[in-house]
Amino acid sequence: MSENMNIGCSKPSASINEAEEANKIITKEYLKEDKKNMIKVGKPAPTFTAPAYHKGNFTNVNLEDYKGKWVLLCFYPGDFTFV
């Protein structure tokens, strides 16, 4: 599900999973300027790997590791933003 990460000063950043050919095609479509390429229901979710804080540890989370489970992915403007 996730792997522990070493802590350093360089900022770890999220990345889109590019190793998988199918995901490359999915993400390329969504990055086109044309707004018609907004995420569509019934289509594969673009996969990504992102650094995370999880119950006392810094980890790396890969969406692909959640195949077989239901995922609720929530974005929000920022920590401490009240609501």
């Binding site: 289509k43 804080y53 995922v71 403007p77």
Partner: protein
């Protein structure tokens, strides 16, 4: 997932969120510095440099079943997100044999699509079921 670093996530958990729920946040708090993931999902606001309140339900096959996006000042309805997941789970379990009408909650009536139901939903389902009890 927000554009904050994992360090800030830790401090938010430790200083505020854990005091609201009396335990650590049980799920991973993801960092999307630069908004790469938010951009792909269509929720990154380039002007503000932050992700808006996007919420995606992804099924066990990795398929997006639902999403909702709110501007920052309005919080989500967690019960509604859970209701939708339960509805999608039921549909998946019955392989589409049962579908969930407006306002469906676990225990409420589902509908079985078929030729006999065409034009006959009014016999099977009452609009009062669309609203909370």
């Amino acid at each position: 997932m927000s554009v904050d670093s994992t360090f800030v996530h830790k401090i938010w958990n430790d200083q505020e969120l854990s005091k609201i729920i009396n335990k650590d946040i049980p799920y991973p708090m993801l960092s999307d510095q630069g908004g790469k993931v938010g951009s792909i999902y269509g929720v990154y606001d380039e002007e503000g440099g932050v992700n808006t309140r996007g919420r995606f339900i992804i099924d066990p096959d990795g398929v997006v079943q639902a999403f909702e996006v709110l501007t920052p000042p309005v919080g989500r309805n967690v019960s509604e997100a859970i209701r939708q997941i339960k509805a999608f789970q039921l549909v998946r379990k019955t392989k589409g044999g049962e579908v969930t009408p407006s306002g469906w909650q676990p225990g409420k009536k589902t509908l079985k699509p078929g030729i006999g139901l065409v034009g006959n939903v009014w016999k099977e389902w009452n609009v009062s079921e669309a609203f909370d009890d």
